[in-house]
Structures are given as C-alpha cells and as structure tokens.
Amino acid sequence: MSHAGMSPVFADTLEVVPGEYRADMELSMAGDWTILVHLTLPDGVKLERQFEIKGVAPA
C-alpha cells in the first residue's frame, strides 16, 4: 500500500556472495512499503521485480 507522490528511498545493492545481493535502506516512515528492484542481467537484459514489506513500525 502506498500513497502517490511520497518520497521514494533509493538504495544500491552489493553482491555479498555470488548470486546473493544485499541492500541497506532507511525507510522514512511507518507503514506498508512496496520495494521495486531493478535488475540488469549479464546479457544486458533489464528486469523489474516488486514485493511488499508490510507493517513497518514507527521509529
């Protein structure tokens, strides 16, 4: 669940072990977040995947 127009949070990922990526991000407000992951495969193909993190508690 998300409100249009709210500030997005950006983060780049690091490959911690081959094939496994990690990103740290500071979610700026409580609630349900939608995470969009933009991927570029070795052959240059670009993909986008989406998943949700629900119920982020207030800081």
Partner: protein
C-alpha cells in the same frame, strides 16, 4: 476581467470550453492509465494526479483566487455536449433542493477514500472519475438547470464552502446598472428576439440572480452571467475573503444562512471532515482502530471506520458546537434558540476547516510536486528514463506551510466569529470568546495531527 490577456480570454463566449478541454484530456488519460496502467499508485497518472496534484492545486487556487476548478470542470464539458442532443424536461424534486444529499455523498466519498484506500488504488481512482462523469451526465440529462452542481456534486460543495474564503467573487460592478436593467439576462439568459423561447446565451443555471447574489456559495464561476449581461456589469472582482460569512442578508438562490441547517451541516462536515481525513494518514489512527477492535470485539474494518466517522462527524461537532451554543445562551446572554445559535456560528468554522484542508492537501502537493514528471514519462513512454529522484519539497519545510495554513484559517475563523458576534449579540466580546475558544480547540487538534508521523503511504525503489 479587466486583467490583460486573462480578462479578455475569460470574456470569450467559449472561454469555459477552452479551459475544460485540456482538463478533460488529462482526466481521460487518468482513467485509461488508472484502468490499464501499472497498479502501483506512485507510478500511475490516476492516483498521482488525483491525490497529489489535483487536490493540492484545487485548494491553492481557491485560496489565492476563487472557484476556478468548477469553471474548468470536465464533467460539465461532456454534459454540455450531451445536452445538445438530449434536452432535460424534469425539475429536480423539491424535497431534494437542499444540501442533504450532497452532504451524504461528501461523507460517502470520504468514507470510500479510507475504506478502499483510494490513494493506493489506480483502478478504484479511475472508477471514481468515471462515476463522476456518469453521475453528472445522468443527473443533468434528466433534470434541468445545473442540478448536479447545485444539489449533488460533493467536490462542488467542497469548493463552495472553501470559496467563501477566496479573494475573488463573480459579482456586479454597479448596483444602479442592475436596478435600471429591464431584461435580467444574467438569470433569464439572452433570448432570440424573434423567438423568445430560444436561449442563445444561458443565464445562471444555479438560480443566483446577480443583483441579489452575496458571496461564493453555489457559484461555479461558469461565467454565464458575465457573458449574458448586456451592460458588461458582471465580473470577477476582488473582495475581503470570508467577509461574506459575517453578514446574513437574504441571498439569491440560497436565502438566509442562519436558516439553512443543511449549509451549516455541510460546513460541519467540511471542517470536521478535514480533521478526519488528516487523521486517516497518521500513525495514531491504527492504534485507535486496534483499540476499538479490541473494545468492541469487531474485527472488520468497515464498522470500525464507521464508528470513527461517527465520532468525528457527529459526536465531536455535536458536543463541541453544542457546548459553545449553550454557553452563548447562558454566559453570552443570547436570546436565540440553541439550534439557531449553533447554525449561525457554525459558518465561522469554514475558514479554519479550509486551513486544515490546505495543510493536508498542501503537504502532499508540495512534497510530491515533481512526481508528475516521472509518472508522465512512464505513461507516455518516449520521454526518456523516468526521473524518480526529485519528488518535491522537503517535508520539514512543507510542515511550516502546514502550520501557516492552519494559523491563517484560525485567524479567518476568529475574525468571522467576531464579526457575527458584533452584529448579532448584546455581549459580543463574551460570545466571541466562546467561539474563539472552539476554533482554538479545533486548531490545536489540527496542529497535533500535522505533527504526527505519517503511516502506510510510501514506496521504496532499489536497484541492483
């Protein structure tokens, strides 16, 4: 109307149509994108334009100018087109010639917004716009005059109440000219000389006879009266914002404000609905809903939400306004009935309600100001890679605007309540203190709400 370029544009017979066409095109794009585009709210035109830009621009234009969004209403463009082929013959039922139906629809809209999480749903937002178009079309195809605008449209009612605090008004320049006028084209319309039943330029469809019109209530700024007046005696003139609420003359198409319980109820929904709508976006709302769920043993959102709505829109105003009206009688020595006092002074809350709406909608507008750029890039597809990195102004800066809007609204309400008290009471200072205290309580609530952390309204973007 005498402002260069803008004035001459607005005087054109098809000025309204010219303004409506671009808004209609944008609305159509929003519907298409809402129904068939990405169903993530921040990436969709329907949700971004409706809940960030339209609402914010609407209240800012009302604050700095007047009801120009009703002027550019796209629903009326389609309705006018259809009326070229379908001529309505019925009159709106007498029992419904008031604001009660539109108040119900206004509350329903606020309720559906929370219940269906409209801010997060492009699909539902698109259907809301479609419903508006269909509603305007059906109502005004069956019933004569501007029935939809005057008696049905919830956005219109919102605009009417907010526009009482606007600095511009459609009004006559010189009353003497109206006195000597014999044709009354501003209300009757301009007729064909050879065939008096043929109207070649409409008069006011909302039954506002210019010489006796006071203020912006029920005025859609359609400019029909401006174009119909044969003496060029009607224009968009500046005035003191909210001053129209302090006096109570008989108003054309409205009557006495003090006798319009429906308009007072609309002002209540407008003011307390502003608090309610803001409450729905902050963290405490979830704590309250969970507490209510435990206390009442109800685990469905709809009845819980209905309870919160009843609390904000019925219980809270009845208690607060009831106490203020009772004190006005007892301590303020007012001889009027309790209900009459409540109705008359309720209008003093309109500027404060407007300030709270401004604070809320302004927050989304300014913090998401530039989000129309990437969303449009995404929707159109050939304007390059969407630039998501610059949503708008910083929230801590915008919070200052929010507090400024609430203070502005509070000042307006204080001035209006003082103005009413000095005209109507034998102890105006005492009565002013009572209603000023009520405005301060509501403003304190608004300050508290705007200071709370937001919840459930965000999106994260990542890359890898």
């Amino acid at each position: 109307m005498r402002v260069p370029v803008i004035g001459s544009l607005l005087k054109q017979r098809h000025a309204r149509t010219l303004l409506q066409i671009p808004v209609f095109i944008i609305s159509a794009a929003m519907i298409v994108h809402g129904l068939f585009g990405p169903q993530l709210a921040p990436k969709n035109l329907a949700t971004t334009f409706t809940w960030v830009h339209f609402r914010g621009a609407l209240v800012l234009v009302l604050l700095f100018a007047g009801n120009f969004f009703c002027l550019a209403c796209p629903f009326m463009l389609v309705r006018n087109l259809v009326r070229k082929f379908v001529r309505p013959v019925r009159n709106w039922p007498r029992a419904l010639r008031n604001k009660w139906l539109s108040i119900g629809l206004f509350v329903a809209m606020l309720f559906v917004y929370e219940w269906l999480d409209l801010w997060a749903s492009p699909w539902w937002t698109a259907w809301l716009i479609v419903t508006y178009f269909a509603g305007a079309l059906v109502i005004d195809s069956i019933f004569k005059h501007a029935t939809f605008c005057k008696f049905v449209c919830p956005i219109g009612q919102f605009n009417f109440v907010a526009a009482t605090a606007s600095p511009l008004e459609v009004t006559v320049r010189d009353q003497d000219t109206c006195i000597s006028c014999t044709t009354k084209d501003c209300i009757r319309g301009v007729r064909e000389v050879a065939a008096p039943l043929v109207v070649i330029q409409r008069g006011c469809e909302l039954a506002l006879f210019q010489p006796r019109k006071t203020g912006n209530l029920d005025c859609t700024f359609c400019l029909d009266c401006v174009q119909a007046c044969p003496h060029d005696n009607v224009g968009i003139l500046n005035r003191v914002p909210a001053a129209e609420l302090t006096s109570d003359p008989v108003r054309s198409g409205i009557g006495f404000l003090s006798k319009r319980k429906d308009l007072a109820a609309l002002t209540i929904v407008f003011t307390f609905g502003a608090l309610l709508n803001a409450f729905g976006m902050v963290s405490p709302v979830y704590a309250v809903e969970q507490w209510l769920s435990r206390s009442l043993g109800i685990h469905y959102e709809m009845p819980l939400l209905a309870f919160v709505f009843a609390l904000f829109l019925i219980f809270e105003p009845v208690v607060l306004i009831g106490i203020a009206a009772w004190l006005t009688r007892v301590w303020g020595d007012s001889g009027k009935p309790l209900l009459s006092i409540a109705v008359r002074y309720t209008y003093s809350l309109a500027p404060l309600g407007f300030g709270i709406w401004l604070a809320h909608f302004g927050f989304h507008f300014f913090t998401g100001l530039f989000t129309f750029i990437p969303v449009t890039q995404l929707a159109i597809g050939f304007l390059g890679e969407p630039r998501w990195g610059m949503p708008g102004l910083a929230p801590n800066v915008v919070q200052l605007f929010e507090f400024g809007f609430i203070i502005l609204g509070l000042l307006g309400s204080l001035l209006v309540s003082y103005g009413i008290a000095t005209v109507e009471e034998v102890r105006p200072v005492r009565v002013f203190i009572i209603w000023a205290a009520l405005s301060l309580v509501i403003a304190a609530g608004a300050f508290w709400l705007m200071s709370q952390p937001m919840e459930m309204r965000a999106i994260a973007l990542g890359s890898g």
